[in-house]
Symmetry: C2
Subunit: 235 residues, 2 copies
DNA sequence: TGTACATCAGTGAACGCGCGTTCACTGATGTAC
DNA sequence: TGTACATCAGTGAACGCGCGTTCACTGATGTAC
């Protein structure tokens, strides 16, 4: 029986029994659950420590302040979106360059994006809520390198990254490889495509279209996908 | 001199000197200024009363609670967006049905929308922040009539309304009247167009693309407008 | 035209709450000799 | 292999703050007779 272990050992387990990093991970996970229900504003430091079963100030061993915890939660939310997209893409069979597969993978990306926004509006909002968003002001100097800006579309765009934009780029590259997207139209096309899907995601996930019934929702999805197809085909 | 007025009159001015509705209007205006700087979360009831020069609980003569004040501020923010769009459209000369004018008015709508999101990210976020957004949950039953849903695109869509979506519909109708948009493609096309512009507005206004330098920003705008044009032309 | 009274829109004071954050502490763990 | 000590990661108690909201009140305004 396990009860034969000395009581002393059971007692000394009270302190520091958690594996290294468990509290930090737990705080982020707790913050993620709070964000799931109420968006970024619901990520309350004290509540997260309560959920982990730790005293409030223990959080300061792992985060400088509440904003740093929120930043970690935002990153985790973005990771979850990326993971769902990757899972959707992986579910589509077919070799790289096969036209049907290429179309299917691009569609899977859009579908996963929209599904995430609708099923998890709180996490979706959190994923795109960079901390310090609260100060809506003119950002810094609006100059300097920006890794997500359109100017980063160059040779390095072939580097595979798991971010939503990176996955979209990969899918569009494959579409071009499959001959379904004219090479001359490839450059920068990820932005209009992203904007279209993101716009519907916001409007239908937590915006003014959030209450449309399911049938109309599917109609909306089809309208948007058809529109993107036309935009990719060119005028 | 005005100083010849009896001091008594100057004194009795202390109470109720404000015109009817001035405090309510002032609270909404104050809330709008708070939202301008910090988005919907910055709409703090006590701060608004301070700005108006009134005691905190005076707000409860005009609003049931903080949420009702926020709702009024959100509506005011949406009105400001609508007004900027209308002003942009009105600036484009040319008769109804003239191709150049029709194109110009549609472009003015998109430009005004994007400019508002970039210049006033706080107000833009507030305009689309329906109160009770904090509870991200499955809305009611997801059934019942929805006036902004796609099913409201019918004979009543010809009714002119000043909402952003209403103005977009009007512009697209004119585009069809001018022969630039195939009638068979008109139905529901406002949603993809709206989504595309809204998506860029969010991404570039307060999202991950908010820090892209001005040159790249204009490039993005052109990409999006070109994409919409291709989508309207059809595949 | 003047008076009596209801209503309206403000004041003043107070409440409980939960938050983020700081301080001094303590016990367990890991490391140097 | 055993001991001394630094570091790590938690505890316990407390802080000040600003918020939304409630209560009883009061004076000015509008209305009925």
């Amino acid at each position: 029986m396990t009860a034969s272990r000395p009581a002393k050992e059971t007692h000394q387990v009270e302190r520091r029994r958690r594996p290294r990093g468990a509290v930090r991970d737990g705080l982020v996970a707790a913050g993620l659950e709070l964000a799931r229900t109420g968006g970024p504003d619901a990520v309350v430091l004290r509540e997260a420590t309560r959920m982990v079963g730790v005293v409030p100030n223990a959080a300061y061993r792992h985060f400088a302040d509440r904003d740093e915890l929120l930043a970690a939660v935002c990153a985790a939310a973005m990771d979850e979106l990326a993971a769902r997209m990757a899972a959707g893409v992986a579910r589509v069979p077919g070799r790289h360059g096969d036209p049907d597969a290429a179309r299917g993978r691009l569609g899977a990306i859009g579908t996963a994006y929209l599904a995430f926004a609708r099923e998890e509006p709180g996490l979706f909002a959190t994923a795109f809520a960079l901390p310090h968003q609260h100060a809506y002001g003119i950002p810094d100097t609006a100059t300097g390198p920006d890794r997500t800006g359109p100017e980063s579309t160059g040779p390095e765009s072939t580097v595979q990254d798991r971010t939503p934009l990176g996955q979209l780029r990969t899918a569009l590259d494959e579409l071009a490889d499959a001959g379904l997207l004219d090479r001359s139209r490839r450059d920068g096309i990820e932005y209009p495509v992203w904007a279209t899907v993101h716009g519907l995601a916001v409007l239908a996930g937590s915006g003014p279209l959030r209450d449309v019934p399911e049938a109309a929702r599917h109609h909306l999805d089809e309208l948007i996908f058809g529109f993107i197809q036309d935009g990719l085909a060119g005028g």
